[in-house]
């Protein structure tokens, strides 16, 4: 399942409802990425997507993960629009029979979302607005899967 949302969501509530429907899976891994407020210099974040294209890309990555790690279930939630420090931007939840599969698939999907998913990010801070592009580290993380 994939949701691109322009309003906030409740990670705990999502984790619980996902758990309920993911049946017998022994392990559920999740990751939440939040707006950073390092040294108080970030006052907001704005994200945009390419509607239709962004979803299609994430769906392909999700399908690949389900296949590669034999996932029982997966959920990707990604925010667009305006967010404040501390707010969740992204949440990935994976359910699998064994924990290694759940962890690896969750990690893989986060790498995809960070570097390949079609989102553009603008940060508002002390020195005005600034578009943020991926860090070298993000590309390196992604290369672990190829």
């Amino acid at each position: 399942m994939l949701e691109i949302l322009d309003s906030s969501f409740d990670p705990g509530e999502r984790l619980n409802s996902f758990s309920k429907t993911s049946g017998n899976a022994g392990g559920i891994a999740s990751f939440i990425g939040r707006v950073r407020g390092e040294r108080g210099d970030v006052s907001g974040l704005y994200l945009e997507s390419y509607p239709g294209v962004t979803e299609k890309g994430i769906q392909s990555a999700t399908d690949a993960a389900v296949k590669r790690w034999a996932l029982v279930d997966v959920l990707v939630i990604h925010r667009i629009g305006t967010m404040s420090p501390g707010e969740p931007i992204v949440m990935v939840i994976t359910a699998a029979e064994h924990r290694r599969a759940a962890f690896e698939a969750c990690d893989f999907l986060m790498d995809y979302l960070k570097t390949d998913a079609m989102f553009w990010k603008k940060q508002t801070g002390a020195d005005g607005e600034k578009w943020i592009e991926p860090r070298t580290e993000d590309y390196k993380d992604r290369e672990r899967w190829t």
């Binding site: 931007i89 992204v90 578009w131």
Partner: protein
């Protein structure tokens, strides 16, 4: 009508996130359109940067191609969510 979408920092340069217009006269290819946008949308050399990708009808294109004038064209800086 052509639909052009500017993402990320390109929308700041172009002063808009999208626009629709008829293919300007004498323009028949993507590369010509880019030249035209460079001048008329204050995009400078932004569209030619190595990291800017182009989508035509929601598919990535890596080479020049002929336009009919009813395409959706997207210009995409490096992406990244989360």
């Amino acid at each position: 009508m052509l639909k052009v979408l500017y993402f990320g920092r390109l929308s700041d340069l172009a002063g808009r996130r999208e626009e629709q217009f008829n293919l300007p006269e004498r323009i028949t290819t993507l590369s010509q359109l880019k030249m035209w946008l460079r001048k008329n949308r204050h995009l400078g050399e932004a569209l030619d940067e190595r990291y800017i990708k182009t989508m035509v009808n929601q598919k990535l294109v890596h080479e020049d191609l002929t336009l009919n004038g009813d395409e959706e064209i997207g210009f995409l800086p490096p992406v990244g969510g989360g």
